[in-house]
């Protein structure tokens, strides 16, 4: 049973990390594309990028929190 708990925690942490990394890297790529296409809009793009990065990592962080709860308190 304990082995299954570790597998579940590993899956939760791994998938959360993968989702967060994919989201943030795609956003970063689009930010650079936008900045290269219209350099005068960099401050505006920066604001949008900052806002969306904060939104993207929300669900992965909830997953990480639950995985750590299962690991330490479970």
């Amino acid at each position: 049973m304990a082995e299954l708990l570790f597998v579940a925690v590993a899956l939760l942490l791994g998938l959360s990390a993968l989702a967060g990394a994919l989201g943030v890297s795609l956003l970063g790529g689009k930010f650079l594309e936008g900045a290269a296409r219209q350099p005068e809009l960099v401050p505006l793009l920066r604001s949008q990028f900052f806002i969306v990065v904060g939104l993207v990592d929300a669900i992965p962080m909830i997953g990480v929190g639950m995985a750590l709860y299962m690991l330490f308190a479970g």
């Binding site: 970063g28 005068e40 809009l41 604001s47 939104l55 962080m61 990480v64 330490f72 308190a73």
Partner: protein, 152 residues
């Protein structure tokens, strides 16, 4: 609409060589708006924690811990990404936001681990409920912050 005006000012500023001043102003305004959101969320956590006291002390401090687990990494992220020396190169901006995001995640993981290892007893429903509520309120407040974002 307000941001559209800002972008026009920035474009206009580029022509007259004052792009950095306009960008710095926009950046400071963004930082202020984000800190205002974090302040509203801190007030929400305090209120919820006081309401949690009506149930039990464990519920109250679990709510408070859930709030701190959300707020501390976000304050770090906002301060690291938006305050300090102003950058104008897209690659430097990207690197700073990536490093801030990494720091935020590491801080969140460390705080979660320390909380679950050291705090007993704990009400997980209250802790995660507050954490998720703050994430959702953060989305709502950030969407409300930027009208142009809703049109994209």
């Amino acid at each position: 609409m307000e941001n559209h005006e800002e972008s026009r000012q920035v474009v206009h500023g580029t022509v007259h060589g004052v792009r950095s001043t306009s960008a710095d102003k926009q950046n400071k305004r963004l930082a202020l708006q984000f800190f205002r959101i974090l302040f509203i969320q801190t007030a929400m956590v305090s209120l919820l924690s006081i309401l949690g006291l009506l149930n039990s002390l464990v519920t109250a401090y679990s709510i408070l811990l859930g709030g701190m687990l959300y707020l501390l990494p976000n304050i770090y992220f906002t301060a690291r990404a938006l305050l300090g020396k102003q950058l104008h190169e897209p690659k430097q901006i990207l690197a700073r936001i990536y490093v801030s995001e990494l720091g935020k995640m590491l801080l969140a993981v460390a705080l979660f681990s320390v909380t679950f290892m050291l705090v007993h007893p704990l009400s997980p429903f209250s802790l995660f409920g507050t954490y998720i509520l703050l994430q959702i309120s953060g989305w709502y407040l950030q969407f409300g912050l930027n009208n142009r974002f809703q049109k994209l």
